[in-house]
Each structure stands twice: as structure tokens, then as C-alpha cells.
Symmetry: C2
Subunit: 209 residues, 2 copies
């Protein structure tokens, strides 16, 4: 797949490395595609990745992955331009200052993203856990679960494949409104990592019988 990743931080970089290893082509969209940090990331991923402007990357990709801080989401989507019928994987979290939810629980970041990009097929994914877990979702032979949600079945199937390729067990958690329940889990993860001192190498697993 041709994957445009908006954001050159640790989440975008980690996912990009995994997808490049799986054989996908990547263009990172950045406000500073020639900047040193961005170019170092490209070098670390190799020939499968290059950098472009946000609109350049978005126009090229068949999949767009949004991996920017919440306060940059609206601007990034506006810069991206039309995303008609593209899969848009929303990895963001609507978290404001002092790690508080930036939106009321009558909506979610995922739904807000879908309002800002109404032509895209939005799937919420990769929001709950940190980049360390994305770099290695294996816990002593057990794959961490990656909960995702969205309204378009074909887009979700594509997202599930990308989730699996990173090394997670993909868990279809329902329609996009379920982002209202996935996003607070990020703050639980943060509370365990920081408040409880567990460190960043923790993740969630869905147990079934």
C-alpha cells in the first residue's frame, strides 16, 4: 500500500519502520520535509520512505495515517486537502493541558476527525499505547491487543491488516463512536505508566474463552 504518514514523531516513525519492513511504500507529510530531524528519520527507515509536504503526502497516499499532537490535528487535516474515499487511520488522542480530555464524552477525537475530513473513511487505531509497544507488541510470546473502530467495513479490513503487520492482535471494537471508550484508555495507560511507575512497556490484551 501507499501509506502517507502525517507526523514525524515517535509514533509515526515507529509505525513507518514496521510498515516499510512489511514492504509498503511511505511518504511522510511534514511542515518541514527537508528539515534535519525529518531527513534523519527517512535515513533510518531506508529507501521505502521519503518526505514531502502534508498536501503532497496526502495526495499520494491511498492510506493516510494521522500521528500528530491533538492541537495540530485540525490544521494538518486542512493542509491535507481532499481525502475522498481514503482510509484515514487516526492515531491521535484528544488530550489537553494537564492530561485532561479535550473533548466531552458525548463525542470523541475520532468522530471529530471524521467531521474535519468528511470524505475520508476514518478508523481509530494505535491511540492507546505508546511507541515502545508499537515497536514491539510481543510480551513473552503474547501479542498485545490493538483495539480499533470505524464505520466503513472495507477501510476497517485494510486497517486490520496494517495493525497485524505491526505485530498486534487486531480487535474490531465496533463503530467509530467506540472511540469514546478507546480514547479514555489512553489516559489509563498514562496513569499506569507515570502515576503507578510501571514504565512504558505495558499494554492491554483481550482475553477470550
Amino acid at each position: 500500500m501507499k501509506i502517507a504518514i502525517i507526523g514525524t514523531g515517535r509514533v509515526g516513525g515507529t509505525l513507518g519502520k514496521a510498515w516499510a519492513s512489511a514492504g509498503h511504500d511511505l511518504v511522510f507529510g511534514s511542515r518541514d520535509p527537508q528539515g534535519q530531524k525529518t531527513q534523519e528519520l527517512m535515513k533510518s527507515i531506508g529507501e521505502k520512505a521519503c518526505a514531502d509536504t502534508i498536501p503532497g503526502a496526502a495526495a499520494w497516499g491511498e492510506v493516510m495515517v494521522l500521528a500528530v499532537p491533538w492541537n495540530a490535528v485540525e490544521e494538518s487535516l486542512r493542509a491535507a486537502g481532499s481525502l475522498a474515499d481514503k482510509l484515514l487511520i487516526d492515531c491521535t488522542n484528544p488530550i489537553g493541558s494537564e492530561m485532561q480530555p479535550a473533548l466531552p464524552n458525548t463525542t470523541s477525537g475520532g468522530e471529530q476527525v471524521a467531521q474535519w475530513a468528511p470524505e475520508a473513511k476514518v478508523v481509530k487505531a494505535f491511540n492507546i499505547i505508546g511507541f515502545d509497544v508499537m515497536a514491539n507488541p510481543d510480551f513473552a510470546g503474547q501479542k498485545a491487543s490493538l483495539f480499533y473502530c470505524g464505520d466503513d467495513p472495507l477501510a476497517k479490513a485494510k486497517a486490520a491488516r496494517l495493525i497485524t503487520e505491526v505485530g498486534f492482535e487486531s480487535i474490531d471494537s465496533g463503530p467509530l463512536t467506540v472511540a469514546r471508550y478507546l480514547e479514555p484508555m489512553t489516559l489509563l495507560w498514562v496513569s499506569l505508566v507515570r502515576g503507578q511507575g510501571m514504565g512504558r512497556n505495558i499494554a492491554f490484551k483481550l482475553l477470550r474463552r
Copy 2:
């Protein structure tokens, strides 16, 4: 411990059975302690359990477990009377009609319970998963995780012991405000159970390395 369980439904009944097996004494608080359903529950648990009024049970217990529907919580706490310095385990979920959150995400059911019972030491626990999982938290040799939170260290230690005795791995998730993140997980569980058709025998596990 002397455990007062307010609520004779499947959550209260299931936890009561587990704690009776562990050797604790139980009094179930009910609006109808002599009713047939309540008496059948007492018989099924055995000599460790009896039923009383809500204030009778609450006055007797050193621990009070709140396991009633959200719309009965305030009335139950008013009926219970003073809970000065008692551990109050809040198993409830602030869910309104059509499975929507009944409270904004600037607070939580756990915090609301603490406001209604200001002298009690509130610990949020046993809210995320259903009674089937409480009856057997073992998934092919793996214990499901039980996330709990609260502000009083001694009360939390007591709660952790009771969680472990039911068969879970107890996960101290931080202060009572973390209930804001634990309560939405219930709705994720419901979405997986009902919307995704996974059935009620699913639970969450915290993976660490």
C-alpha cells in the same frame, strides 16, 4: 472480614459466593431481605451469608460493596447511613438509557459516590467486566486483570486482597479520578460483548515486560 453487599443481583451474588468461599462473613443489604429471590441467593451461598435491610447491613459491615444499578446508587447510599472510615467498594457504572454515559467526563461515578458517601474510603473496582468473568477470572491459566483506583492506601490494600481472593490479578490504577478512565472501559466491554458478538466471557489483561 465482615462484608456488607448492597445489591442481590448477579454481581453482588457472584462476588458474595467468592468471598464466602474465602471465609468472609456476608450480610446482603436489600430493600426486600425476606423476599424469595434474596432468600434463594442466601441458600445458594450457605451459612456464611444472610440478608438484612440496607441500613442493617451497612451498619454491620466493615466493608461495604455497592452493586446496584446506577439509578439506585444515590438512594442506596442515603439508606445506608454513615459509612465513617469504612471501605466502600464501588462496582457500579454511571450508564444511562441506551448505554450512554450518565455523567460528563469531568467526573466519574466513583467520584460521585464519594460525594454521596463523604466519610467512606471509596475504591472503584469490579465495574468493567460482567459477573461471568467474576465467577471465573481464569482464562486458560491466565488471570484477568482487575483495575481498581482510590485515594486511601489502606482501603486500597484491603480492596486488593478482596480482588485477589475472587481470582483476579489486582492492578492499582491510581487515585479515584482514574475512575474516569475505568468506567468507559465498561462500555468498550459491552461493545465487544454485544455489538461484536464476542459473548460475555471476555476480559482485559495488563501485559508487562
